[in-house]
Symmetry: C2
Subunit: 544 residues, 2 copies
């Protein structure tokens, strides 16, 4: 008795196994489906092809969240963070910000700002609980906040692992490739910005090329560069060209990330970029940069208390800049190996911190950004899979609104991996489905099927199955679930190769969502002018 | 400015990055640690080595669970399942069981048994909510039920992927290897039974050799074979030899799995094995075998309604066999690809079904078994990582008490992978830590550290860090988080090779937990006698 492909024996008696396993033989299934279903061969063909690049709307979560804190514990954490801001203070290493805080009647001593808790509460109260993040294609606007979640690709990689699996410096064409893929992958809601660094352009001009590439190759939302206050202002100008100055004034059309320098420091670059965005009513992600154990206490809850103080101080400052401007509670989270000093991902403490931070962001009633596919693997091996799936599942259970770095992240962010980008994007689609929660709309109908089929029968030919099978169970394209015999016959293709094939296929099908001609020209004119004005510093480039 | 290894740029300004990243340089960390910490070099050495094979106690979960069902929905699902049992009935393909049901006053028509809901409720009420699962080393007893969780390796694989990464038929020595590894891996609570099938022994004798190997190579709990009623009785006899007849009568010392034949059939083999276990007061896992869409409706909630009916009928039957005998709500869960007929793992619907089933098991107040590391990958590639991490995280959030197939499962259970076994076991230790929830015991002390360190400082040399760093953040041995330069210098080792090296190291350190000499001899005598009595049928063996 040769075990039929499919699953372990699990102690089932041999005769039983044979019976059960017959059901999952693909020939059997397809022949039953063909017999029972109008359309037959054509239907099966449609099933196999059916490319659908339509973007999924922003996820509306309908699963209870993992909320470990009771009310007392939330108050205790809030009190700890507020006490840090009141007693320890926080450095705003930026003369304009210090001046702003003085005008706002905060106590300022040198670079250190001491913030009273009531003052903080009053300030963050005017941050919108949620907002619509506008795309140039209004069908691709997405909500940020509440029970809604969007998935945004990784950014900032100085290397890529390319369509041939080679790790190398990226060029502008590589960035365009990622923007095209972002445009086509249904669960990805944004083309982000510098997914990879375009090394063929001087560092001081890159923000212009990056922003244009995001705008041109995708009509989804995109992110805005915050590498310097001036760069951020250029991005704002380009947004004004693309959307119109007045529209920009009243609609969030991009998001900028501002990293904190934990513990308890915000610096001039980030604060200047923050002002550029907030003044124009564009949301910033206020993101303490946590290397747990190195720049926070070596303990989950206290690390969150510090991170929370940092995030709150920046969120408060956005409202000093412009009352009512949208802003997002953010962070970059890692824990540090106390053996080697290396940052880690996919660890239990990162999941726990996410659960706690999600609760705090909801307590303060502000949208919350976390990260989705973090990991430190050097290649797209099983480590990468474990790390990313653990992180993504954690932030979904934690209720993140804006899941950044949701696709492509590898090697602790040092490279964006094309293969992983494709697989992560499918993983986003999968947690999307999970987070929608169970459906009840076909409950009675399906129970009638149980009565029809009865003991010992099978459901493949039943009308309920025929009508529901497309939407019933997610069928991941990137997972191979065939028998090893079939897998061998098909050339022993592992997931990396499968994903790269899919990337090539998508790119061959890509159709550019054309920019309005006048706006396109205006953007190109703007870039040309700014490139004449800005000296072409390419120090970073020469280094590689 | 060369980006320092560690994480993507995330839009941080260059100067800020450089500052932050300096903290995670291993030289810096180690030198700070050496300066600050009593013990210095010796302490660091202890940190690097410190092998600890002590078993973790059964996990006490302290995280809120993912419970999507409200009370009405639980009642609706319960009603649906009970209606199936009342109106559709369920086949018990076994004359003794049919006779038992008749004596218990159930309506029996041919092989079909119709169970009244009040009757079912009355029967399952006597199943213990929780019990202690006894090991031959009482320090390794573990609780099953309530908020407690144990991790049990995969079983039933007809192939293994061995210490050289080769996929082949396993022999008894390979099984012994897995039992030794199970003995040494801290988060694994059981040596299970036929992790792999020992092909060098006739199929009719294997259950004896498998049981002896579990008993001999590990002093943790183990599972009992249920491949036939006679085999199950042999296992009971061997347990009586190992633990003593009287002890066995009053203590659960093994668990047996009985698979249902969905939809709505229990067969003679499984029911006979169930009787062998339940009569001796040993717990059985009542496990419908779900190929979602093929042998259930193609819809999450209705599939659970059917599975629940199946599980309840078997749970009820255990109490007909012996009132008060421990029993466990179980299942094998997959969804079937409607494209190919292949079973899938790590899909959103499997997570959702787990959330629902967990709620139902708690509603009926019986311990619940799910599966931890399922997947269909043919090798230990990224697919395997995504699938297993997704499944494991789902069943932890679902609150499973008995996580079977928690290590080693690959290729839809067709092979047990040594490398994956090691990595999965570490993953179990990681979700173990997560599920314990956040600690508050050092909160005040750590907040004092925030005041000490202040803005712009670092925590590496602070006494709180020094005292807490070992327990603060999980440091996975199987994840490489070093820089790519270091990784290259060390030979570009991917996770598979790392895990195989660790397996070899563990096996070289293995020390057998010796059986009592008299009991060992009695066990060997029993096996010798039974092997003389049982014809050596080796049909399965010849097939390979």
């Amino acid at each position: 008795m040769r075990p039929v492909f499919g699953f372990g024996q699990e102690n089932a008696a041999p005769n039983e196994q044979a019976e059960v396993k017959a059901d999952q033989n693909s020939e059997t299934f397809m022949s039953v489906a063909a017999r029972s279903r109008s359309g037959g061969r054509a239907g099966r063909r449609a099933l196999r092809t059916a490319p659908d690049h339509d973007m999924l709307p922003g996820l509306a979560r309908n699963l209870p969240l993992c909320e470990p804190l009771d009310e007392d514990q939330i108050r205790k954490l809030d009190d700890a963070s507020m006490s840090i801001l009141e007693d320890v203070g926080i450095i705003f290493r930026d003369p304009i910000a210090l001046d702003d805080w003085k005008k706002a009647c905060a106590r300022v001593d040198g670079e250190r700002v001491y913030l009273d808790r009531e003052h903080v509460r009053e300030l963050i109260r005017t941050i919108p609980s949620s907002f619509t993040y506008h795309a140039r294609n209004p069908k691709k606007n997405v909500p940020v906040g509440g029970n809604r979640t969007i998935f945004v690709p990784m950014t900032g990689a100085p290397f890529l692992r390319d369509l041939d699996g080679v790790r190398r410096n990226p060029m502008l064409d590589d960035l365009a490739m990622f923007h095209k893929l972002s445009h086509m992958l249904p669960a990805i809601h944004s083309s982000a910005h510098h997914i990879v660094e375009p090394y063929d352009h001087p560092i001081s001009h890159r923000h212009l090329r990056i922003t244009y590439s995001s705008m041109k190759h995708s009509d989804k939302t995109f992110m805005g560069m915050t590498t310097s206050p001036k760069n951020a202002e250029d991005v704002m100008d380009m947004c004004a060209i693309l959307f119109g100055e007045e529209y920009l004034e009243n609609h969030p059309v991009t998001t900028g990330n501002c990293n904190g320098n934990s513990p308890l420091v915000w610096d001039e670059t980030m604060l200047g970029a923050m002002r550029a965005f907030s003044k124009r009513n564009q949301p910033v992600l206020c993101s303490p940069f946590v290397l747990g154990g190195a720049n926070t206490p070596a303990s989950v809850v206290p690390a969150v208390a510090q991170l929370n103080a940092e995030a709150l101080s920046a969120l408060a400052y956005t409202q000093v800049i412009r009352k009512g401007a949208p802003a997002i509670y953010g962070h970059y989270l890692s824990t540090v190996s106390m053996r080697s000093g290396a940052p880690m991902a996919g660890t239990p403490e990162i999941s726990l911190m996410n659960f706690l931070i999600g609760q705090l962001a909801r307590y303060y009633d502000v949208p919350w950004r976390s990260s989705g596919s973090l990991g430190g693997a050097k290649t797209f091996d099983a480590q990468a899979g474990y790390e990313s799936a653990t992180t993504l599942n954690a932030v979904i259970h934690a209720g993140a609104n804006y899941i950044w770095h949701a696709a492509g992240w590898n090697e602790a962010g040092m490279h964006c991996c094309v293969a992983k980008f494709i697989v992560d994007a499918e993983q986003c689609a999968m947690v999307y489905r999970m987070a929608e929660g169970p459906r009840w709309d076909d409950f009675d109908e399906a129970l009638a099927a149980v009565r029809d089929v009865g003991p010992g029968g099978h459901y493949l030919g039943h009308p309920h199955t025929q009508e529901n099978f497309q939407r019933a169970f997610f069928m991941p394209d990137m997972f191979d679930n065939n028998s090893i015999e079939q897998w061998k016959a098909e050339g022993e293709v592992e997931i990396t190769e499968r994903a790269l094939k899919q990337a090539r296929k998508l790119l061959s099908e890509y159709q550019e969502p054309k920019l309005d001609e006048a706006r396109n020209e205006a953007l190109l004119d703007y870039i040309a002018r700014r490139e004449r004005e800005i000296p072409a510093e390419d120090a970073l480039n020469q280094d590689y």
